[in-house]
Symmetry: C2
Subunit: 435 residues, 2 copies
């Protein structure tokens, strides 16, 4: 993580310069009173987000420093307007002000973000019923059409941008670091394989994938497990890229990439798999997803859903929802069960890979910083800072337990042709010995 | 499973003998009409339970046989009263009438029960909201006092009774058959060890167990993992038995058996464990259980709950609830999350061991049949048949997917001192190499 370098105290300038400076003493007193009120607002805002161990320094060198030596970083607010926006809605406006350089962080960005996430209250209102309802109010925006628009917003930025900091196979989901000191490339292959093993894939089987990204998993399944795959995605750029890869590898007769919504899946399949799509589905569409799986999974079929999740229901962070992933919401496990419990499915296995996502994000962030110059030739400064904050914030979110990563394996209720123990997931040799 | 031997058709007698036989033709016609109506009721009842592939034969040799060659067993109803009771409430009264020999099953009992469970509708009303509510209406009976009464009903029948058909260690929960052709004794030890491994127990740690049965797990943890255990149970007979074992083994300074409710747990612990108690807690008490764990688990603590569960919420079967486990209800995973999501817990791992419970029950049932003569010296005939039906019915329930077995592993939210992958659960050598 690149460390923010800013000028020492007192020399900070910003929007404050535009504020009419009082000339007479009475104006000065009024100014002092206003400033005192602003500091009080800042203190209240910090309390409302759990009082994280930070110094906050204002444009004039003054500020709020409740934590003494225990402070992990310094937040620099460069102008009065930024302060007021931050106080009004810290969750949404911190990121916005940071992107515009009206707020900076001095010290280690990761420590700062980790401290913020760990202090953050579960929800401002302690009532659990309200917490349970909150996410439902969040994600009502994923009709067929708006889902397409939301996905376009994030995934169609340009394949060349993602190629700068993802692994060679272009896997934009949590990797699986099954061995120590694994490279990101190896950990992504290990993840693809961990998914295939769990699904107990057999040569000749038919698999459907919902939300296939740039196609890495679909191609891996075809290449190493001898299955046929129908892979769905509503991102135009990703589908085009994936089709070309299938062609280049001569796998296009075995893997069909289909530009369509998960709700339109057609066919009959031995296995259903979805890695990193559920976050975009929206909790109130889970029953539609369950119905699509129920409609297309054969009697002896298995399925796996890999998704970011939460320890308890809460809405998506406002800034991420606004600037990074419109319409997205990571579910708690109870919420995820809304996919399965209304239909004839049985949960076989749930694994939480939270720390693997933190490690994956360390790699991405490192590569992102290495490519920062190249990226700033492609996009404006606010974009570069927005994405830096998003990657660093996600890393902190997984490290602090603010977000989880669940792999949920299921099959048809009452079907007994399933592995006897989970030993098979850990047997020697990747890809069922075929790698 | 002992096969029910009954006389061939026509020779069946029973309560029907008490029914006044009509002497004149008009009476005969009336009798025929009544009989036709009874057969119609029977047909309707069979439809309401999903039309399982059975023949049903009545006291006079007539009956209902819709399935021809596809029928898996023959149900013999020995008197008109039994028929009417069965039609009125098949879920509750089949077991009652079976216990009293007013109903018999001819053919393979396991095939019969499996067919019934597989045909059984999710609920008579297809609306999911109603299904979600149903269990809440069920288990409101587990106050401190009634919990004690309910547990006494089942677990204080007599230790000598359970010794006749459980393994030597007296483990009355699902075993773990980690190897092929394992004996029940070995599979129960493997289960105790599977639980300890998952919990990542370290020598010197403090463990609390809620619902400790006859003490096998608490003693295993102390013996092989060097931890201190406080083990709670409200069954008087079980606690007395467990205390004696601890004394006999010289483990009584390391393991304390406490006759009290999980809600009264006191202390601070590195690990919480509960195997086979949750079924008795009742869904509307889950938050109390969560609060008890939250109050006593240290910051870096882990926990495991092992419980019978469901693929979706539904009330306990009426007969089981009435005659075997008053106040009990196995939860769906979404329901189980009510223990964790209101507090600072994070789910690490869920494993479904359904088929292991079916195999455990095969062993128990086999041993029960071997001991049947001894048991009928201890109890009356209705008890012997009730328990046979309960064990066989449970076996069929797990085999058909009517019931699940979940092991849920969790820790404190955001704590990162956790195993990196699940390899450690499958490393060679039982008891972390100490067995």
């Amino acid at each position: 993580m690149r460390q923010e370098q800013t000028e020492p105290t007192g020399k900070l300038t910003g929007g404050a310069a535009n504020y009419p400076l009082p000339a007479r003493k009475s104006r000065q007193t009024l100014g002092n009173m206003i400033f005192a009120a602003e500091k009080l607002l800042l203190t209240r805002m910090l309390e409302s987000v759990g009082n994280p161990p930070l110094h906050v320094m204002l444009w004039n060198g003054e500020g709020v420093a409740h934590h003494g030596e225990g402070s992990v970083a310094k937040v620099l607010i460069h102008d009065r307007g930024a302060l007021l926006k931050l106080v009004a809605n810290p969750e949404l406006n911190f990121g916005r002000m940071y992107a515009d350089r009206r707020i900076d962080v001095q010290g280690n960005m990761m420590d700062f973000l980790d401290a913020v996430y760990r202090s953050w209250p579960r929800l401002s209102d302690g009532k659990f019923a309200k917490k349970l309802l909150a996410p439902f109010q969040e994600a009502r925006r994923n009709s067929l059409q708006s889902a397409r628009r939301n996905i376009h917003h994030h995934y169609d930025i340009g394949n060349d941008f993602y190629q700068l900091w993802l692994d060679k196979q272009m896997v934009y989901t949590c990797a699986y670091f099954s061995g120590q000191n694994m490279s990101l490339e190896d950990a992504q292959t290990a993840k693809l394989d961990h998914v295939c093993r769990k699904l107990w894939l057999q040569p000749g089987e038919q698999v459907v994938e919902a939300g296939c990204g740039w196609g890495a998993l679909a191609l891996h399944m075809a290449r190493h497990y001898g299955v046929s795959v129908k892979a769905y995605n509503i991102s135009e750029e990703q589908i085009a890229f994936a089709r070309q890869r299938a062609k280049d590898e001569g796998l296009d007769s075995q893997v069909e990439f289909i530009e369509d919504d998960y709700r339109n899946i057609q066919g009959e399949f031995d296995a259903f798999v979805s890695v990193g799509m559920l976050e975009h589905v929206g909790i109130d569409h889970y029953q539609e997803l369950g119905a699509a799986i129920d409609r297309t999974l054969k009697d002896g079929g298995r399925g796996l859903i890999h998704s970011i999740g939460r320890d308890y229901p809460r809405p998506m962070d406002a800034w991420i929802s606004e600037h990074i992933f419109p319409g997205a919401c990571p579910p708690s496990l109870a919420q995820m069960m809304q996919i399965f419990e209304p239909f004839d499915f049985s949960i076989l296995d749930v694994e939480n890979l939270r720390l693997h996502y933190a490690k994956t994000l360390e790699h991405w962030l490192q590569r992102y910083e290495i490519a920062a110059e190249r990226i700033s030739e492609m996009f404006d400064a606010a974009f570069v800072r927005t994405w830096r904050l998003y990657l660093a914030g996600s890393l902190a979110a997984f490290r602090s337990g603010h977000m989880q990563l669940f792999q949920v394996l299921f099959n048809r209720s009452g079907h007994n042709q399933i592995p006897w123990t989970r030993d098979y997931q850990y047997a020697a040799g990747g890809c069922n010995g075929k790698l």
